[in-house]
Structures are given as structure tokens and as C-alpha cells.
């Protein structure tokens, strides 16, 4: 009886204390730029989420350790684990957004991106969705706060199709192409572009959804076996990728004809399958490591400050997380160039910075990123910046580059972006931004 009362009393006190903590936690710090981080280190997608999050955190630590912050403004950051769940992601967003006058959010989940897209404009928090999120949000005229930097899913799909077209000597007419996709907003994103290209190029597109999280794919691969498509495009995430490869082995579908998007072609996806995944190809938007990775080893890992294991540095998803953090940091730096070096930037100012990114070869070289990413420059209307990737192939032990950088064809993507962005604007009763608004 005593124990019960004690625990009850303790829980009441804990509840009261937590509410007090929540309200006192919201304070702004001077001379420190706060970076909220929404990773997932737990849940079904953790194997892929963890390297990304480690790369992200390591780069932020590097900026503090190597450069002493952004023009002297130290970076602070806090993680809130979303487990890839939309409602938890929204809670984390609400929790972290109060800790600064605007910060850059990168949820690494298309579902959370959709939910935050509705909230970001009122809260004035820029969203970077590098390589994911809404494809039409590359239209900055409608999506003022979204930045799908370094390529959307439409760009990704376009790059794969260009690669396949080249492989088939320019003619895909009559070919059968199957899209095996995660049945969620993420997996459905490339469909409009693939359909558009099917109309142009005359190939036959087959859509094969896989129910999330994608552990069970027998039915899907039975369909693949029946229809024997010429190519399979894999749009999976987390456990779905390795499960798909295992099913491909089981059904005898050649891995050489499977192409994954950049989220389906990293080390965790093929590691468990090993030799059997040999020949599987996928996109990669980051290049091999260079100076920046040495810096991370020197300034972060050698000082025992590394977020994850040291041998993870330089893997595909780690690099992706690192580059995502670099984009956020450069957005703040660009904002400081205009609004005052060495000052803490607010959400509106950071958005301006992200809209006026100009990371050319020289700037990248200075940051040590020149081998990791391609030059990128954004504008008020183009929030995507760059849309290039290359294909790499798994040889059973490691990924090898199989193509040069391919740039997505904007003549196909641009009209689609306009059409979908206009539809969104009409639904939400938004008007396009005026040129004057672009200056602000």
C-alpha cells in the first residue's frame, strides 16, 4: 500500500515537473545558432536513419571544432527521435521549434515533410528536404519555405530513365518497366514523372506497391515473375530494400536489371544480401569522400567526439547526412552575408539565405566538399538548386560508380512542377509570390 502511494505521488510530481520543464525550456540563446534535428535512431527504418543522423551531427560538430562556428556563431543542436512516425515527428517539431527564433528542419521522411509543409509558413521555419519530400515544392513561387535541395524524386526518376534510355541505345519503346515502391507518399512521388515519360518514350509502366514497412513482398514479386519486366525500379526505404533484393534472388530476377533511387542504394540495403546482390545498381547523389571526411576524422572522431562508429564515416548515407547538414550551415552563412556576419539568424533570414545559395566549385573547395557534391545555386523560383546524381553498382563488397554525373532533364520536369504547384496553390487558395516578395 505504501509503495503504491509513493509511486502515485512520484508520478504526480513527475507530471508537474515535466510541465514546468517544458515551459522553461523555451529560451533563446545569444550568439548561438540552434539547429533542430529530427532523426530516427529507432524503429523500422533505423538502419538507414542512423548513418544519416550521424553524418548530420558530425558535420555540425566539425563546423564548431574546425571553424569555431559560422563566422564565430557557435552551433548548438538537439535531436528528437521521430521513429519515422508522422505524429511523433510533428510533436518533435513543436518541441524543438520553440528553442530558437526559427531553425532549419530536415525530417528525412516524406510523410513528416507533408505535415510540416502546412506548419512551416506560419511558424517561419525553413524545411530542407534534400532528395525527398514533395517534388513540386522545387517551385519556390508557391512553396516559399520548402527546399528540396539536390534533387527531388522527379529528378531522381528522370536520371534513372535517362540512364536506362542510354543503355537501350535511346529507344525504350515497348519495354516493360516496373516500379516496386513503398506504398506511402514517398513511394508514390515518382509516378507522375514516370507516366509522363512513358507517354513520351512509349514504354509500359507497371506499378507494384509494397505495403509499409515492406517486410512482406511475396505477392509483389510473384507479379514481377509473371510479367517479367525489362527493368525494375526500386523505391524502397529501410528493411524494404534488402527484402526486395532477397525476393529478387528467390524469384530469379536478375539484379543487373534493378535500379534503386538514392534511398535504396546504400550499404545497409545490400550488406545483408552480400554477394547475392551483386550487379544491383542505384543512384547516389554524393561523391567519394575528400578533404571534409579527413577533417571530420581529425577534428571530431580523433577527439572522441564522433557520433557513431568511425568506420561509418564516408558511407553513402553518412555522406548524405553530412551534405544535408552542410546545406543547412551554408544557408545560415549566406543569410549572415546579407544580414550581418556573426549574428544569430532568424527563420526569415535563413530562408533568404537558402534562396540565395551559391555554392560554386571555389566555395565547395574551400569547405572541402568539392569531391562530395556538385555545385549548387538556388533562386527565389528554383528551390532545388541542382539535380544531378550518378549510378553506382554493388559488386558484392562495395559500391562502384557505373556512370558519370547525369543531370535531370528540366524540359520534362518543369511543366510538371508548374502544374502540380498550381494545383496545390489552388487547393490552398495561395497566390504566387510577387517579384517584390522574392527580394525579402
Amino acid at each position: 500500500m505504501k509503495l503504491r502511494q509513493l509511486v502515485l505521488a512520484a508520478s504526480v510530481v513527475a507530471a508537474a515537473a515535466s510541465s514546468a520543464l517544458v515551459s522553461t525550456a523555451a529560451y533563446a540563446q545569444a550568439k548561438e545558432q540552434f539547429f533542430p534535428v529530427l532523426p530516427y535512431r529507432t524503429g523500422a527504418y533505423a538502419p538507414n536513419g542512423v548513418p544519416w543522423a550521424n553524418g548530420y551531427a558530425d558535420y555540425l560538430k566539425l563546423i564548431n571544432a574546425r571553424d569555431g562556428g559560422i563566422n564565430g556563431v557557435k552551433i548548438t543542436f538537439e535531436e528528437c527521435d521521430t521513429a519515422y512516425a508522422t505524429d511523433r515527428g510533428v510533436e518533435c517539431y513543436e518541441r524543438l521549434k520553440g528553442k530558437a527564433q526559427g531553425g532549419i528542419f530536415q525530417p528525412l521522411s516524406t510523410g513528416i515533410t507533408f505535415a510540416l509543409t502546412e506548419k512551416a509558413p506560419t511558424d517561419k521555419n525553413p524545411l530542407i528536404t534534400g532528395g525527398y519530400g514533395r517534388s513540386e515544392s522545387s517551385d519556390g513561387g508557391v512553396f516559399k519555405w520548402n527546399f528540396p535541395l539536390m534533387g527531388t524524386y522527379w529528378s531522381g526518376a528522370d536520371i534513372i530513365m535517362q540512364h536506362l534510355t542510354k543503355k537501350e541505345n535511346g529507344n525504350l519503346k515497348g519495354k516493360k518497366i516496373a516500379l516496386v515502391y513503398h506504398d506511402s507518399p514517398y513511394g508514390k512521388e515518382p509516378i507522375p514523372l514516370l507516366q509522363e515519360r512513358a507517354k513520351m518514350q512509349g514504354y509500359d509502366l507497371q506499378l507494384l506497391p509494397v505495403t509499409a514497412p515492406g517486410v512482406e513482398q511475396k505477392a509483389t514479386w510473384l507479379q514481377v515473375r509473371q510479367s517479367r519486366p525489362d527493368y525494375v525500379l526500386l523505391w524502397g526505404w529501410g528493411v524494404m530494400n534488402s527484402a526486395a533484393l532477397k525476393e529478387a534472388v528467390a524469384t530469379g530476377y536478375p539484379r543487373e536489371k534493378m535500379y534503386g533511387v538514392w534511398w535504396s542504394a546504400a550499404e545497409p540495403d545490400v550488406k545483408d544480401v552480400g554477394e547475392a546482390a551483386k550487379g544491383y545498381s542505384g543512384l547516389v547523389a554524393t561523391g567519394p569522400g575528400g578533404k571534409v571526411l579527413e577533417d571530420i576524422k581529425k577534428h571530431v572522431h580523433d577527439k572522441k567526439q564522433g557520433t557513431g562508429p568511425a568506420d561509418e564515416v564516408g558511407t553513402t548515407l553518412y555522406n548524405r547526412g553530412m551534405v544535408s547538414a552542410a546545406l543547412a550551415v551554408e544557408g545560415v552563412r549566406a543569410a549572415q552575408d546579407r544580414f550581418g556576419k556573426g549574428k544569430v539568424m532568424n527563420g526569415d533570414q535563413i530562408r533568404w539565405g537558402l534562396e540565395n545559395l551559391n555554392m560554386d566549385d571555389k566555395a565547395l573547395k574551400k569547405l572541402g566538399l568539392d569531391t562530395v557534391m556538385k555545385p549548387l545555386s538556388t533562386s527565389c523560383l528554383d528551390h532545388e538548386g541542382s539535380r544531378t546524381a550518378r549510378v553506382h553498382t554493388w559488386d558484392g563488397k562495395k559500391w562502384n560508380y557505373a556512370s558519370d554525373w547525369i543531370e535531370a532533364d528540366t524540359t520534362i520536369i518543369k511543366p510538371l512542377v508548374k502544374q502540380f504547384a498550381d494545383k496545390y496553390a489552388a487547393e490552398k487558395k495561395l497566390t504566387r509570390r510577387t517579384p517584390a516578395d522574392c527580394q525579402s
Partner: protein, 358 residues
Amino acid sequence: MFYRENGQFKTSYKADQQIFPIAQDRWGVLLIVAFAFFAVPLLADEYMMRAILIPFLILSLAALGVNILVGYCGQISLGSGAFMAVGAYAAFNCWVRLEGIPLIAALLVGGFFATLVGIFFGIPSLRVKGLYLSVATLAAQFFCDWAFLRIKWFTNDSASGTASVANLTAFGFDVVTPLQKYIFCLSVLVVFGVLAKNLVRGAIGREWMAIRDMDVAAAVIGIRPMYAKLSAFAVSSFIVGVAGALWAFIYLGSWEPAAFSVDRSFQLLFMVILGGMGSIMGSFFGAAFIVILPIAINIVLPVIGSWVGVEVSTAALTHAEQIIFGALIVWFLIVEPHGLAKLWSVGKQKMRVWPFPH
């Protein structure tokens, strides 16, 4: 001593039949409602409102609906997430296809369609009971997951399969800021709470409870099982449907079917079991336990860690949250199998006899 009805004489049937016959209860509940309407907006900051209180209110409403079916009528259902989804998508279709429809009307239409689907999937309850019924209602879950993922019409032909709404207004007021949303959800919850409390006190509620306690005996004394069971499914799924529409419209703003997955059904069922089956109050306790506790653990643990000089990593934090949360569920179920509502009534009884427990 603090809580006893001595000296409160009922001189009319009306006084005897009111919802809270004891004055302390009456005033207590009124005070809580007044506190929620007037004091909370002053005390709570934006994070509390948007991330904790609004989901708590909406899921309380959903748990209330599930409690009518599971707690009062004894029909175990795992289809609650599906009924929420039906409510959300019906309200959404109404909202985008009928120009200028009021928000309240859209929510009620969502509830109406959830009722239809609920009655349809309640039909197996006429033949099967208990665990078998819960498996049968799982069909609703899988069917709705499938329908809202694959049938494009439901999501207004959105390419990515997500639905989203914005610029909500009700009765000429905007429902945009956290405060407005909070007040809106609270008003809906109060209305449905009073309605539900009255329903379960009335003839129909007694029929449900009779069916729950022993359906053969209930049939013998003249209660029609079909009517009683299907009406419980109807009322329950109406409330759950409205809650689903609120969850989508007010809390998420943009959603996909995963927001109403089978996890949500389990979550609602656990709320009812933990909070107290067959208790309106229990729905609120259960929702508070399931919604607020994990977040509270997640926020408090790093602070406690910093007191003792331990830095808790993000992954360890989430794992610890789940372990502690799971342990607490088990602990509460062992200590009080009848739920938190029972603890509450035990507490009231203690107050009543204090300071002379014997």
C-alpha cells in the same frame, strides 16, 4: 469528510436523476471544465497546446467512442483506427468537393459515414463474440487501409496519396492558431462527453451493459441483441469518426493512411483497458496515460540524466521511454486491473471516510 453527500436531500425526481447527484462532483466537474476553458489558455504555451493538449483532447474523444463499444457493450473491436480513417477521409472529401461547407458539417458527415461503415463491420458481432469478434473487426482495419491507399478518388487524386486541408473556420471564427484549435477541440469534446454520459445512463446504455454482462439473459428479458449491439457500433463509430476527422483536420493538417494504421486501433483499445472499461472518466485517464506519459518520459529523462551527470543519447532515450512506458502499463494492470478510473473511485471513497477509515 471532504467528499460526502450528507445533508444533500433530493426532493424531486429531477434532482435524483441528474448526471452528478453529489454536489461536490457537480462543482468539481464544472471547475475542471472552466479551468480547461479559461485557465489553460493562459497557462499553457504553444508547445503544450499543439503537441500535447490537442492530441490528448482528440484521442480522449476517440477513446470515449471506443469505450462505449468495448467498455459498455462488451464488443471488443480492433477496427477503431479504420473508423477514424473513414471519418477523416469522408470529412475531407466533403470539404474539398462541396464548396463552402461549414467545418462542423464536414466533421459530422465524417461521423455519419463512419457510422455506416461501423454498422456494416459490426454485423459479425451478431454471430461471434470476444476475441473472435476482435479478429473480425480487424478486417475493417485492413480494408480501410487498402481503400485509402489505393483508391485515388478518396484522396482527391493527389499524386502522393496524401490529403491536406487548410484555412479552417467554424461559426465565423478562424480555427488556425493553437489556442483556437484547442478551444474548438475542447468544445467538441465537452458536447460529446455530455451526450455520451447521458446515453450510457439512459435506457440504451443499460441495454448495452446488459448485453455486455450476459447476452442470453439480456435477450430473455426482452432486449434485442441485434439492436443493442448495432446501436453500440453506430454510436461508437460516430464518435470515433468525428475524432478521426479532428485528428486529420486539426492536429495533422496533412495526413496519409498510416496515421490511422492498426497501431492506432491498438492504442485506442489500450487507452480503454488502462483507463477503465465502462467509464467515461476512464477514457480521459487512458488517453492521458498513453498520449502524455511517453512524451513526459522523453522530456524528463535527459533532465534527470543531466542532474546525475549522464548524457542520454537519442536512441537510448527512445528505448528507455518504451521500456519505462511498457513497465508502467504492466504495473498498473497488476495493481488495478479495472483501470485508472477504479483508482480514482477508490480515492474518492477514501476521501469520503477520512479520517475514520473504519
